[in-house]
Symmetry: C2
């Protein structure tokens, strides 16, 4: 496509390089930026540069952070004996937004995926094993997506933790809240039957 100006062409190409943004959306965004006050464009541009340049990673859990240790790791009210192992930073944000977890995290930075060439050595697994063995950790919770890669990673780390006095668990698989049974895939439905929750046990006379 021919653009009337080199600066808009460059901006459109840069925006269209982002995932899920095509040329048409990029053009719409560029024209929107043109119509906004100059501070907005500068704010957006500088925020994106700062994001990449200034972000740090927590030395303990590999979560993103503003300093050497993240807000969660330095918070004395969090239970550092319960470590939730996740694939990515966005999983930390998702779990934090539930307000149901008071432990700490460990971000692997990916998931074991031989087909995509992701080996265990490329992930933050060694530092997790070390942390669990050297600290007074009581439970490791795997919070991975329900996939073969997630199961593989959970299995690999479990094996590595054999012999430690640590409870290992995984987040529950089952029917999501609000989803009708008839629209649930058979694997999820099958697993949710296998891992059913006991509501009442048989009372002996």
């Amino acid at each position: 496509m021919n653009y009337p100006s080199k600066v808009i062409e460059k901006a459109i190409n840069e925006l269209a390089a982002l995932p899920g943004i095509g040329k048409k959306t990029a053009m719409r965004l560029a024209l929107h930026i043109l119509k906004q006050p100059i501070e907005n464009a500068v704010g957006l541009g500088e925020a994106l540069i700062a994001l990449r340049k200034e972000v740090k990673y927590c030395k303990n859990c590999h979560n993103i952070s503003d300093s050497d240790l993240c807000n969660i790791c330095i918070n004395p009210r969090r239970d550092s004996q319960t470590i939730c192992v996740v694939e990515d930073i966005k999983d930390v944000i998702a779990i934090e937004s539930t307000n149901q977890f008071n432990g700490v995290y460990h971000v692997l930075g990916g998931i074991i995926n031989p087909l995509m060439g992701v080996a265990p050595s490329q992930l933050n697994i060694d530092s997790l094993i070390e942390k669990v063995k050297e600290s007074d950790c009581k439970e490791v919770i795997f919070a991975f997506s329900a996939s073969i890669e997630g199961d593989t990673t959970a299995f690999y780390i479990s094996k590595k933790l054999t012999g430690t006095a640590v409870r290992i668990s995984s987040i529950a698989r089952g029917i999501p809240i609000g989803l009708d049974l008839e629209y649930t895939d058979e694997i999820t439905l099958g697993r949710s039957l296998l891992n059913r929750t006991i509501i009442q046990t048989v009372q002996s006379d």
Copy 2:
């Protein structure tokens, strides 16, 4: 939502201020930028700032441009006697991509819309009238969206041009290429019947 870092929170908020981008998409984009080389983030950020700071508007047609006059206006091979009047810069880009128009443009910067408070005085209409009257312009083509506002704007400018020896036309309304008749709305279908194209006239003996 609680973000683990101030810089990512700022970047997500800035991205989510763009049209059509929500918090979830903004987070996905921010995490994508984090995983890219630092040059990509700097390139994107600087391109967006440059877009807003460096872009100029053509003094003749109000299209965006790298210099005082745009590439189309200074091109001697374009027919400057045919002026296509459009609402916005994106319409110029859309028409240019058809390769069917060899004239020049005039960007109004909006469309007359009393309900949204857009009056003719806020648009580049006076400069268009002046240009048409003072130059050797032969035809003015309105290329507006098929809406009441588009028709109003075309009518308003036509009135202003009464008395000039200029042909005034509008792009054809009709059935889009590839659309089945049965799925066309009745107004479009009705108009396309009224404005039918003659294929062969009756030949007299």
